[in-house]
Amino acid sequence: MDYPIDTIRDDFPILSAKTDSGAPMVYLDNAATSQKPSVVVDAIRTYYEETNANVHRGMHHLAEKATAEFEGAREAIAAFVGAPDARSVIFTRGTTESINLVAQAWGRKFLKAGDEVVLSIMEHHSNIVPWQMLAQASGVRLKYIPMLDDGSLDLEAYRALLQGPVKLVSVTHVSNALGTVNPIAEIISLAHEAGARILIDSAQGIPHGPVDVTALDADFLAFSAHKMCGPTGFGVLYGKEALLEVMDPFLGGGEMIHTVGLESSTWADLPYKFEAGTPNIAGAIVTRTAIAYLQGIGFDAIEKQVHDVTDYAVKALSRVEGLTLHGNPPERGGALAFNMEGLHPHDISQIINEEGIAIRAGHVCCQPLMERLGRPAIARASFYFYNTVEEVDRLVASLDTVKKIFRI
């Protein structure tokens, strides 16, 4: 069966929007956040109109309904990532909070001065800064896996780093800047062979294909709902139950306690120990809707469409004179980064915006990677399963306008 691109695009009313200049929009900023299909938007409304109540607290009809849907979402998300038990699925505000949770609640308790945490040079700031905060507080040392010129991680150097006193490796599944898909199965088993724990930042991975945390033997895995058709401000930390059990809480407050005394308290069981305060209830419930929507299209179909469109874009952009595409990794997800001779990415982005084309320009939250590329900023186009090769053609054509305006 042919890929039903037209019906899929109809699921996203925003895709037929026009920009201020009247141009039909081409949304190529999916690595920043994906668009939301009507089923997800409707589910938010339905939740607030028919279910809204606080969870785990009331005895009344709505409280029961909200709690059942909220915990049902946890079961569904656990099944989606292959977690053996829903207790090991912690709800957070997103990848950033998930990583901070591990850095604080696990790192502070189990890492000491001189221990090493291995990151990579292509990490998003949210997988760097929490570790720097930990390092400053505890004397833990940070090491970075370097990158080869093709945009893939230097696994030889990684093996060498693992000879050190490494206690944790925390790396991205897919680079949000270059689109590199890292060989996480290999990265995980190497970490384990060296006796280190591993955290996978799958913010850019899971949206394009499901992962199985059990098969991968991941210790921790983090992702955000908003990059996979779900709402902003909701995300997940998966952790192995045995690790989560012995960790201290992250934030203190309601929900996360067992008993509260005047001087001290005891902690709730998993997963609530890490979920202080009223959670993003609608976020959880609607994320389940988003996952079901993606499964309805089928992750194989999603992967193929993204792959085809990205491949087409790589070829088309390579033919643009004066354009440098960064990296040519063995496996690429739905993102690519480029620069154009004599042009700053901001100017590119500003000009093509007039033609309705939305890309990202700047350091894309990866300043160490920019340093490695020797560029203060890049232009990034990133694709999802509703993008088309015709949209890539419009991107490429718009670059001519940029050159014309700059007389290049």
Binding site: D20, S21, G342, L343, H344, P345, H346, D347, Q350, I351, E354, A361, G362, H363, Q367, M370, P376, A377, I405, F406, R407
Partner: protein
């Protein structure tokens, strides 16, 4: 919005061949302004004798607007007084933020720079070097 207003001839000329631009050594007495949202960076330095500012130069990594702005700054403000420099910084920054309309003559490159105010996302690009200049002036304070 018309892009020709943003990328006027004079702006493009300053971007392509920025005046008074060079790579500074790390130990020179520049002041720097940085835009963390985009990573653009500009450095400004010059000399002060009495109350005269001269030899303003910049080292800018950024977009067409930020480079052109730094170039125009150095060209326009070298040779004026410290007080005049400060006044010009305020006039341009206030003008870009729409707080007051400066009376720049039509042919003045500053008038071209001022049109950036219609592109709110780019205002900081235009003000970056002027922020660096202000910091540098603060450091020269003879008092």
């Amino acid at each position: 919005m018309n892009l020709d207003e943003l990328y006027q001839e004079i702006i493009l000329a300053h971007f392509k061949r920025p005046h008074h631009a060079r790579n500074f050594a790390e130990d020179e007495a520049f002041e720097e302004a940085f835009n963390p949202t985009c990573g653009d960076k500009t450095r400004v330095l010059g000399q002060v004798a009495g109350d005269r500012v001269s030899g303003l130069e910049h080292d800018t990594q950024g977009c067409a607007i930020s480079i052109a702005s730094a170039s125009i700054l150095c060209e326009r403000l070298s040779g004026t007084s410290v007080e005049e420099c400060r006044a010009q910084v305020r006039t341009l920054v206030d003008g870009l933020h729409g707080r007051r309309v400066p009376g720049y003559p039509e042919q003045d490159p500053l008038a071209a720079l001022l049109t950036v105010k219609r592109f709110p996302m780019r205002i900081r690009c235009a003000t970056l070097s002027w922020e660096a200049l202000e910091k540098w002036l603060d450091r020269q304070d003879p008092a």
